[in-house]
Subunit: 198 residues, 2 copies
């Protein structure tokens, strides 16, 4: 097994998938990318907004390309991939390489700073952690942000996830909750319906 | 002065502005919607992404329509509005009504819950506060969220902004920083450039 040669990012092959996202992680407790495909209301919205000429979100994938003759073992490809399936599939991409991590991001808009990037989700399969793949995904998102004229790249993290907190700080991120007092609020369920008068 | 009849939301006239946003607040310290128009890199990105067939962000505006013969005084219209201007303008919309507040939102995407709404910015001119305009903007955003199949409507608030914190809680929002430990992180400036290897 070797790393994909990729598009200029050392050691791996991030791909911006805008025309298909034919994989789900085959292991790891969270997050379930499979939710993209198995829960109809979610999958319909995500397919409509993420796959087209003007996608509203993007996904970078880190993939490993097997050496010639090397078997993927349990990760054997279930091509064609799993768009319409009701059960989890392997992590193989359309090209047959093994997808071991991803970063899902979109652009956000501030009245102060204009277009920015938000990394909603970053995931690396447990058996591939500790190899710098997460860092490479983050670096690639920073590249995308600069290429798109963004001055900020935001993300959120749970306070108990010390490894992630430390990694983001090590890479230069500011904790805005600590330094400025930003709190995350959410309306959902009954509260949202009441708010909308339904 | 009276409230605009609007599009079915009692007492005011929120408009989803996707083809033009010809106003800036004429008073109030923050946030400077004028930044949309006076800082070229920001304004170019915001015009490109917010005004077209497939906008990446949306803006609801709360506007007051003057009674027949009633003068707007200092708020006199500087039509045509201020897209290319280098200085702040009045709060008059294209239709001549007085824009007194706005909410800027966009759609965000979760691998767990699909498409959701994020209210990036909500603003009401100081002299029009305490009249429920902010609540009406929030309610309208909740309506949009439900209409678009979203299960969540998120926003962020600074911990010292007690009025806003209390309003959002009163309206049914959960403080996720308190209940789940979500922290907001941001890369910017030199940190972002270093991350991208520039």
């Amino acid at each position: 097994m070797r790393w994909g040669a990729g598009d200029g990012v050392e050691g791996w092959s991030p791909r911006i998938v805008t025309t298909g996202l034919g994989f789900t992680p085959s292991s790891g407790p969270s997050p379930p990318l499979s939710a993209f495909f198995v829960i109809p209301p979610i999958s319909i919205a995500l397919r409509a907004d993420g796959f087209g000429e003007n996608p509203f979100f993007h996904c970078l994938v880190a993939e490993i390309i097997p050496a010639p003759g090397e078997s993927q073992g349990k990760e054997a490809c279930s091509y064609p991939p799993c768009f319409s399936s009701q059960k989890p599939h392997s992590s193989l991409s359309f090209s047959g390489s093994l997808v071991v991590g991803y970063g899902l991001y979109y652009f956000i808009y501030s009245t102060w700073t204009g277009r920015n990037v938000y990394l909603e989700d970053i995931y690396v399969m447990p058996q591939y952690r500790g190899q710098g793949i997460g860092t490479k995904i983050i670096k690639k998102v920073a590249e995308v942000a600069l290429n798109k004229g963004c001055s900020q790249f935001r993300l959120a993290v749970l306070d108990w996830n010390k490894k992630a907190v430390n990694l983001y700080k090590f890479l230069g991120a500011q904790d805005l909750t600590e330094s400025e007092g930003w709190l995350s609020f959410r309306f959902e369920g009954e509260a949202m319906r009441e708010l909308a008068g339904r």
